[in-house]
């Protein structure tokens, strides 16, 4: 998995729920994530998917991903070309789902990141550099089990590799 990433920030507020990420009215219709990704954040930022350049980041406040267990949420973020999600804190099921599908999640102080800021993320070192602001932000380390699943490319790949849990 890629451990160093560069891109620009798309900033959202606190308590971004999974219904905002992908609305219930769409998620039941299809498992084509590319198709569903055109509705990413549609309810709170219509047309958002058109703003995304491949490799950009979604940046949130506290409790990012609260709400449902829908795995479509991290999958549409991935399919839209987002390379990682940064937030002050994450909701539990969303956080697990991101790791399971191989979408990096970075818990850090996002208060000094503004829309469009150029970011450099180093997952191994656990740092986020805001190049626009010239500041370095330390990330909270992931639990070792999650690092292992993420490094294997997600839980499906982990299972393929070991035939079961090998944590």
């Amino acid at each position: 998995m890629q451990t160093q990433m560069r891109g620009n920030a798309h900033v959202f507020g606190k308590n971004i729920n999974t219904d905002y990420i992908i609305s219930g009215k769409y998620k039941f219709k299809s498992t084509d994530m590319k198709d569903l990704s055109t509705h990413l954040m549609e309810d709170i930022r219509p047309g958002f998917h058109k703003e995304i350049k491949n490799g950009n980041f979604i940046v949130g406040g506290e409790n990012f991903g609260m709400g449902s267990s829908r795995e479509q949420a991290p999958l549409v973020i991935q399919a839209a070309g987002i390379s990682a999600v940064l937030a002050k804190s994450f909701a539990r099921i969303f956080f697990r789902n991101c790791i399971n599908v191989g979408l990096p999640v970075i818990e850090c102080d996002t208060s000094k990141i503004e829309e469009g800021d150029e970011l450099f993320v180093d997952l191994e070192k656990g740092v986020v550099v805001n190049k626009t602001k010239g500041i370095e932000i330390k990330a909270v380390a992931l639990p070792p089990v999650m690092v292992k699943i993420l490094n294997d490319g997600g839980l499906a790949e982990h299972f393929k590799k070991y035939g079961g849990f090998n944590l």
């Binding site: 219904d19 905002y20 009215k25 795995e71 099921i93 839980l155 393929k160 079961g164 944590l167």
Partner: protein
Amino acid sequence: MGSIAEEILSAHVGKAVKAGEIVVAPVDYMMSQDGTTPLTIKAFEDMNGQKVLDPSKYSIVIDHNVPSPIEGVSNLHKKMREFAKKHGVKLYDIGEGVCHTLLPESGKVAPGMIVIGADSHTTTYGALNVFSSGVGSTDMAAALISGKMWFKVPETIKLVYDGKLQKGVYSKDVALHMVGTLTSNGATYKALEIYGDVIDAMSVDARMTISNLAVETGAKAGLMACDEKTVKYLADKTKVPFKPVYATMDAKYERVIVEDLSDMSPQIACPPDVDNVVPIDKVAGLPLDQIYIGTCTNGRYEDLEIAAKILDGKTVNKSTRLIVAPSSKMILTQGLETGIIGKLVKAGATVLSPSCGPCVGTCNGVPSDGENVLSTANRNFKGRMGNTKADIYLSSPATAAYSAIKGCIADPREVL
């Protein structure tokens, strides 16, 4: 020696584990619904899954989008039926009911178990002393193949609700109060243990409403102790012996919150977040365009019974619409036999087949622009019911029923 969560997880891994440890534990029951099963099947295939390890421990429920309104959904439902048939797992098809009512009702969950569901409101079974939590589809597929799941043993917040609820105040009001005070991330990564006179006095069905909303505080589980009511509830549902699990005297809690709820009014969660909770007098009189009674939170028999009692012989206000969805076929049948469904229909309710579509905006009750909705569901996020330009308020079934007569948010204590 620990909290209920620590004790259940310890019993499953065969050694004493404490909050913060990571465990891989056997899972006693699994469930996924029509929003999450298609991706579970995909993950199962991606993992080269050949068979469901123990098909008797898994149910698939088609409840969120039924009967199918469009071909995309129909094709996914078909895929689910085919998977269930191929692997010999129980499938609850359209009209059977809502997942979180069906599992307890059919005796599939019992005290001391670990249950995972690909649905966030899987916390519901905590009321039956079950460590039950929502997971995503990939986790579900991993558990289907291996029979196991990894967990971080959670810290626990202990809540004690003492006193006696006023007439017209119900478990939903307690649940909304809990979410309002803990906030939407106050218990993230943690378990709740919920006790007190108020809980002791409640039916098991009413308790499930509180455990159901535990996830709205971010919690992993909303656990309660097993008591005589729990045992009685399960007596005619399951023959499998079970072992209730209690917290030990020396259990350590992250926090203990003790409150007396004797003076609490009916509560309302205002848009657009479940923790935006106010006493009913702050919003009484707000005109309503649609009212919805049902869902995994409040679609059980006693919820419809109180609504029917309030609406009996009355009519739904001309300025509003009332939609009622029993949360299982058993509840619908019982309600037809006892006459409560007839009372609701005569009062002007539109009764849906057992399902939960309107709550999540899939079908059967999408509000129009600028409308106010009062719902007994669990989420009031912008766009949750399928229209971002409608506002959703959450309440108990009694508040919803009385508000249907008045056409605006109204305090059920006026008639109870």
